[in-house]
Symmetry: C2
Subunit: 361 residues, 2 copies
Amino acid sequence: MRSRLTNTRDAANTTTTTIMTDLTFAVLGTGGIGRRALDVSTHKEGITPVAACDRNGIAIDHDGLDVDELLAATEGNVASDGGVAAVKQHGAEKGVAASTQAHPSETPIEDVIADSEAIDAVLIALPNFEHDFIPRVAERFAAANYEGVLIDVLKRSRVIEMLDEREGLLEESGITFICGAGATPGLLTGAAALCAQSFVEVEAVDIHWGVGLKSGYADNRGTVREDIAHLPDYDIETASEMSDNEIEAVIDEHDGVLGFEDMEHADDVLLERAGICAAEDVTVGGILDLRSDEKPTTTTVSVTGRTFDGEQGTNTFELDDATSMEANVNGPAIGYLKAGVRRNRAGEYGVFGPAELMPGF
Amino acid sequence: MRSRLTNTRDAANTTTTTIMTDLTFAVLGTGGIGRRALDVSTHKEGITPVAACDRNGIAIDHDGLDVDELLAATEGNVASDGGVAAVKQHGAEKGVAASTQAHPSETPIEDVIADSEAIDAVLIALPNFEHDFIPRVAERFAAANYEGVLIDVLKRSRVIEMLDEREGLLEESGITFICGAGATPGLLTGAAALCAQSFVEVEAVDIHWGVGLKSGYADNRGTVREDIAHLPDYDIETASEMSDNEIEAVIDEHDGVLGFEDMEHADDVLLERAGICAAEDVTVGGILDLRSDEKPTTTTVSVTGRTFDGEQGTNTFELDDATSMEANVNGPAIGYLKAGVRRNRAGEYGVFGPAELMPGF
């Protein structure tokens, strides 16, 4: 397989320069998503993880982190509060700082920012129970004039509005912010954008996901807690204040299987901003089974529309039940991260959703 | 629905300028694909057809062509040889020249080139029975220092090699050439690129299409003739030399249903150049029914791969049987055209396949 180079023409003459080859990235947060993104990146070509941090410390190596060592040292670093509880401790150090590649730090994010000139992209894999936490992290990068990609895998619509409010600041800095770039939104909104290509009018987008996580709450705290916030009697505030025991009790009440309808998932606003359809025509629901790794239902995107020649049809995209939620979040996150770096190097700054990185509808 | 603007930062200061809003395009050729692309574009926002030509003449209007008038005037303009036979004649003029917006021309492509400064993209919908015809058209645009997008919906792998050989020339001119941007390759290679996001290794891509064209050979001459070239006893040279009667005889022999296996479709090389998988892991086949508009089989893309956590799975993308081949060629063509203009305005020149416009695998 040959590696692809794209070229840009210098405005003043006709020499060509390479604008996309290899890239470096950092991960903020080493919970479920951060750890798996590091893992997935080791399977991909042309992408080198150079920094990772949690609230205890930071590991930086511009030649590339030893991901295996880092993951082993931080095993169990999946805490409900972002890194204090249940963190594996090596000697005196907790979390990332337990890695031989790391040092303790009380200002880990600032440390990444200080070193960000050599970092093409930063995956923000931090818990976001305060809606504006990730937007505020973005502000800090902008304040330091970071020029590169910031990317998150968040699900909630309102975070995107907060990023949009900061778009001018991001543009001035030279930041390309890719939001909602996991499985849903992310892979599935991208699929919806592609399914829409047959149509001249999109009437409905239905996103229905199934996730089986036998590893349960213990290994997927952030994800499960955020999902519980989508249940009828809960919201993000109540969910963020629940104790681990209370969360477990809700799971038990539902015999481990949580069903969701009409979720506040950013898929709707992200598809609208990409020009695919109105947000109100998008529905997102799913089933989360915390007692089995088998998916309780097949993850499917259905896009119904009208063709230019007057027919109505429904195109579909289906993920195999054998592909895990982890694979479907982190593969696309890395894919969109690459797409974002390409946009950033071409000088496109601001806030982008995954569907905006697809061919225009 | 709000329209999305993306902004680029001026290198010298921090003012922002709009790099993507509306775009204009021209169509070379007014056979089945050219006519339908014009039709589809009238259903889309922000894209204005400003020129169309065939071998008899050219219609140009920088404020936007009246597509309805043009299509009515050129009805029947679906000739097996690119525009001589079976062309509707209004008064003394044939083909495009019969439109009130057009004038006869013996150098229609040169006329488009002469006016190309105001044209963001050119859809090349000309027959390509000589393998290098479209690459040679691209050369003519490059010779005139055209800065914009050229796009084709060709199927054959070897044309892409010829375009690659001319990549330097295209880059010098400022041309972004998007090749194979119809249904397959095009929509379906894009879908394969997206399906691949769950995996760290793609083992097989299987593209299987079904097309029902009750309108038959008469209305789809270029497409049918090119497909016949993929049958076991034929190749592109023999197919291009067959008379209409001989083509009809082959169709009759097969009772109107042509089955294809292991086609020389550019999907394979386009997926390889996008880094999805090796070309040899891609198989393309399909069934064309010329006696019914019902699809003889459902068009499906299946991508089998291995996830980072060691599972094997197959993600799938399916087009509804109710979506016509025409909708699935021309919708994506316009979508990729838009994506191409965005790349071009960002200064990315050279040769791109559809899958390269997707998030990187």
